[in-house]
Subunit: 327 residues, 4 copies
C-alpha cells in the first residue's frame, strides 16, 4: 500500500505514524527531515514524530510540526489502571505541548456528528470536560488557583448546520479570543487494531479532509489565528483499505509460487482498484469499517481523553477531583 492508493481513493492518512510507515516502505529508508522518538510506559508506548523539513512535509502529505502518538492496546479492555495511565500520559504530553500563562483562555472544540456513533467522539469528550470560563464572571468563588478559563463547543457537521465547521469555530474564536484551541475528533486509521487504542496529539491542528466527517477547511493556526492542538482517536478504517490490504496479504501469501509471483508483478495495479471499486461502488469512498462495540469504546475513551485534557489545563486539579466539576 502506498500513498497513491490513498490519494486515488480520496482517503486521508490521519495518523502521522502511519504516514511515516507508508513512506518509509515506499522509499526504503528513514524519511529525511523526520525525527522520531519513542518512550515506554507499562501499558503505553509514546512515539513522537517531528516533521521538520519541506521534503518530509511534502512526501508525507502532512504539515510540519509535532505528532505525539500514544498507543495503548489496553484501552480496549475495561482496565481502570490502563485508562488512568493513558489519561496521565495524555495530560503530561499535552502539557508539554502547550506553553501558556496560568490565566490563559482555552477553547475546546468537539468535532463530528453526535448522531453517528463512530463520529461522536468529539462531542462526547466535550460532555465530560470541565468548563470554567463562565464562572470567572458569575461564580468567581468557585475558581481555585491552578484552574484555567476553559470554554467548549460542539459545532456539528455541515450536513446538519449548512455551515462549514471551520467558519463556526472561527466566528466564536474572534468573539472570545482564546490563547489556544484544542479540537477533538474521531479519526480514520489504516488498520483496525488502532481503533480505540491510539491517541494522536498534534500542534498542526486539523487538515482539510481529515477525520470521519469531510472537513473542507483546515482548523489550524493559519486559519484560526491562534495555536490549534488536535487530539484524535481512530474509530473507523475506510472499507477500501480493508479490501486493498486483504488483496495485498493474499498476494504475499502466494509468493512461494514462482509463477504466480511473476504474474502478480506484471498485474495491472488498476485491476485491484477496479475490484475494490466494484464492491464499494454504491457509496463511493464513504464506507467505513467499525467494530460492533464502538459505542462502548467511545463511551470509555471519551472519558479518558476528557480527564487527560482537564488535568493538563487545570494543573491544580487531580485525577480524582475533576469529576466534581462536571455537570
Amino acid at each position: 500500500m502506498n500513498l497513491d492508493f490513498y490519494k486515488s481513493n480520496n482517503i486521508n492518512v490521519d495518523l502521522a505514524v502511519e504516514a511515516r510507515d507508508i513512506v518509509r516502505g515506499q522509499i526504503g529508508q528513514e524519511i529525511p527531515g523526520v525525527v522520531v522518538d519513542r518512550e515506554k510506559y507499562s501499558n503505553t508506548t509514546v512515539t513522537t514524530v517531528k516533521i521538520v523539513e519541506d521534503y518530509a512535509e511534502q512526501i508525507m502529505g502532512k504539515p510540519r510540526g509535532n505528532y505525539i502518538t500514544i498507543e495503548a492496546p489496553a484501552l480496549r479492555d475495561n482496565s481502570r489502571e490502563a485508562h488512568q495511565e493513558v489519561a496521565d500520559v495524555l495530560a503530561k504530553k499535552l502539557s508539554s505541548m502547550i506553553n501558556l500563562p496560568e490565566n490563559a483562555n482555552i477553547l475546546l472544540v468537539g468535532l463530528g456528528n453526535w448522531q453517528a456513533t463512530p463520529d461522536s467522539l468529539g462531542p462526547k469528550v466535550i460532555e465530560h470536560s470541565m468548563v470554567t470560563r463562565h464562572m470567572y464572571n458569575y461564580a468567581p468563588e468557585e475558581i481555585k488557583p491552578g484552574m484555567r478559563s476553559v470554554s467548549a463547543i460542539s459545532p456539528g457537521v455541515l450536513g446538519i448546520t449548512g455551515i462549514e465547521t471551520a467558519e463556526i469555530i472561527k466566528g466564536v474564536v474572534e468573539k472570545i479570543r482564546p490563547e489556544l484551541i484544542i479540537v477533538v475528533d474521531a479519526l480514520a486509521a489504516g488498520s483496525v487494531d488502532r481503533i480505540a487504542t491510539t491517541i494522536q496529539i498534534t500542534d498542526t491542528g486539523v487538515s482539510p479532509g481529515s477525520g470521519i466527517g469531510n472537513k473542507r477547511t483546515g482548523i489550524n493556526k493559519d486559519t484560526m489565528g491562534v495555536p490549534v492542538i488536535a487530539i484524535g482517536i481512530p474509530t473507523v478504517v475506510n472499507a477500501a483499505i480493508i479490501a486493498q490490504v486483504t488483496l495485498e496479504h493474499f498476494l504475499e501469501q502466494i509468493q512461494n509460487n514462482q509463477a504466480l509471483v511473476q504474474l502478480s508483478q506484471n498485474l495491472n495495479p488498476g485491476l485491484m482498484q477496479q475490484a475494490i471499486s466494484q464492491v464499494l461502488a454504491p457509496f463511493g469512498g464513504n464506507l467505513t469499517v467499525t467494530p460492533k462495540e464502538i459505542d462502548s469504546l467511545i463511551a470509555s475513551t471519551s472519558k479518558t481523553v476528557a480527564g487527560g485534557i482537564s488535568m493538563a489545563l487545570h494543573p491544580a486539579i487531580g485525577a480524582e477531583e475533576y469529576t466534581m466539576y462536571l455537570n
Copy 2:
C-alpha cells in the same frame, strides 16, 4: 398581579399579550402607544400587538416593535388539522414579517438546553428544519426555485459552553452574514393554559433575561447587526407566579366577606411575597411549573413550528413536501 411582582422576583414577562394585560389592569385603560389587532381562524386566534411609542415601550418593559401571538388550545390535542392550520398561520404571519429577496440567507438559531426537556424546544425545532445553505456549494442540483439558503445552529447554554449564547451567535453571524436571523426559544408564561398553546412571533428579537435559560445579552438587531425575528412558545410558568396567583384568587374569593375585604386591603403586600419566598427559597427564582407530558407537547409543537418556518422561508415548498428534505 402587576409588573412590580415580576421585577421583584426577577421574572421576565416573555409574552407581549400578557404584558399588555397586566399594564391595562394596572392603569385601568388601553395603553397609549399600543395598537392591537385580532383575527380568527377555525382553531386559532391571532392577536397582533404593536408597540409604537416610547411611553408604551417603557411601561410594558418591552421594546418597540410587532408581537404576533397565535393562540390555539387545540395544539395540545393530537389533532392533525389543528397542527396543520397553526403551521399555515405561522407561515403566513412569518412571511408577512420578513421582507427578503428570493436569494436571501437566513440563519436559524435554536436557543436552550437540549438536556432539559422544557428548555429543549429551540434545538428540537432545529432538528426538524430544512437546512439548505451547503447545497448551494456542494449539491446545487438539489436546489429548486422558491428555496432559500438556510443554515441552523443550536448554540447550547452558558453552563455547558462557558460562553454567552449571544457571543456564539454573533461570531457565526459575522462569518456567514445572513440577511435575517430567526431564533426559536422556550418561553415562560404567566398562566399554565398558555403552555404549548401559544406562539409568539416578534421582530424585536430576544431580550436579556427572557426565555427559560438566563440570557444575559439581547439577541436583536442592535446586538447582531441584522434583523432578528424571535419565535417562542411557553413551556413553563415560574413557580412564584403560581403561588402569587393562587393567593390573589383566594383573596378574591373572600371578597364577599366585608371585614376580610377591608383587612386584605390593608395587608402589607410584603406578607404575600414573604410567604412565597419561604416556600420557594432553596432554588431562588429558578423553580418552574410544567406539565408531566411536556416531552410529548414539545415533540409535537416543535414539528409544527419547524413546518411553519420552512414554508415561510421556502415559498415553493408545500406543507407535505418539506419533510423530504429533513433527515
Copy 3:
C-alpha cells in the same frame, strides 16, 4: 397541610418521613406503631421509619415496612466528598436491608420516562449500573469473587409502551427468577428543599400511584413474588402543594392580626382548594415544580445512586473500581 389535601388532589405522599410529619401534625403526637431512629454522618443524616402496626399503616397510608431516608443537602453541590459519603452510606444501608447469598441474582429496574428530564432518574441510574448476569454464561473469566449476578431493565412508561410497567417487570421476573428486585424511581416531595437532596430506601417496593409517572399497579413482594426494594429521589413537587403551602404560610403570617385570625379560622377550606384548582386547571393534578438545573442534578445523583447500589451488590468491588465495569 394534612393528608386530606393530598387525597383530594390525587397526590401521593412518596416519602415516609413526610407522611410521618403530616400525621404527627394532625394527631399532635408521635404515631403509635411507628419506630423512628436517627444517625448522623458528616454531610448526611439518616432517618429510619419503621411502620410496625396496622394503625400506623392505615393512618399514614403507607404499607408496613422499613423506610430509610438519607438526607444530604450537600448532594446539590459539586462536592465529590459529599457524593462519595452518600454513596457509601447508601451502600451500607442497602446492604443491611438485603440479606442474600453471595450467588444471588438481582434485577435492577429503572422506572420512569427517559424523555422527560425530571422522570429520567431511574433509566439514568441503570445506565451507570454494573450489569454482570450475562458474563456468567459468556465471559466467566471476568467474574471475580464478591461479585453477584445483576441484570437491569428500563421498562418505559405506559404512554410509550401501551403496557403497565408492572406487567413488563413481572414478565421478566418470571423468566429470570431473581432473588431480589431493586427499583429506582424519581419521586415527588412535599417541599422543594428535598429535590435532589433526599434518598429513600424501602423494602415495601413501589405503591400504586407513587413516583412521577402514574403507576397503576404496585411493584412489591405481593405483585412480584420476590422481595422488592425501592430507591427513590424526589425531583419534583406537585404544583398544588406549592400553592397550598404558600396560602398556609400567608395565613400564618397574618396571625398577629386578631380579627384576621378569627376570620381565617372560619374560612371555608374549600375556598383555598378552589383558588388552587382555578390556577392549575388546564392540566389537572399533572403540574410539577422543578428547578431549572434538574438535568445536571439528575446527572450527578444518578451516578451516586448507581455507585452505592453497585458497592452493596458486589461487596468485593471498591468505590473506585466499579466504574471499570460500566459500559
Copy 4:
C-alpha cells in the same frame, strides 16, 4: 462466495433472497422446494421467496416460510413519493401476511442497541409507531373503528441488560398475550447496495445469530407461542464479506490471463481466508461496513417502516393521519 464462507466466519445470511442466490450459484439451478414470485411497482420490486420443503430449508439454512423482499433503491434518496410508495407496499404485503380479527392485540418489538447507530433501527421504528393498547382502558373515547390494540417495547441488548432479549420478550408475551408479534431489526447484507434499500418481511421470525446484535435464541412461533413476523432492513455488511468479494472480483478480472486462471483454480482456498483473518483479526468477526450517512438513512427509513406497519395494523388509518397519534 458460498455458504461455507459464511459458516466458517460465523456470519448469518439474513436475507432469504441472498441465501437463494448463493445456493443457486452453488448448485447451478433453481432450488427444489423454493417458490419465487416477483412484482414490479414504479420505484419498487417485490420478490417473494417461499421455502416449502425440507431440502430447501436445509440447504438454504433458513426455516420454512414466506420471505417477502421489497427492493427500492430510491429509499436512499430524499424522495417523498418513493418513501410513500414503499410504506404503502409494506402495508399491503404485511396485511396479506397477518390474518387477524379486528380486535386482535399486537406487540411490536424493536430489537437492537439504540446507542449504536447502525443497530438502532428497531428502537427508532418503535419511537415512530402508533401505540394504542393503553387507550382501551384509559381513553376509550380516542379509539376509532379500524384501530387495533398495539403495544411496543425496545428490550435492549444482552450487553446492557444482562438478559437474553428473547427472555424479556417471552416474559412480556406471557403477561399481555398478544395474538401476533412483529419484531423490527437491523440486518446484515452481503452487498453494500442493499443498505437502506431492501426490506425483508418474514413469517419465520428471527433466527438465532441473525441481525447485527448476537441473538442467541430465536424469536419465532416455536419460542414465543404466537406467530412472529420479522421486518428487517440491512444497515451493515460484515467486513469479511467485503474482503472476500473483493478477492473474488479481483480473481475474476484476471480470468483472461490463462496461466493465472489455472493457478487461481489450484489455489488453496484457505489462503484467501487467511488473508482476511489477518486483516480483521483484532475484532474477530465483529467488524461491519457501513456508510457514513447511516444515521440519516436510519432516521428516514424508520419512519417509512413505522408508517407501513401502522397502516397495516390500523386499516382505518390513512397514511397522512397516523402521525397524529404519535407521541
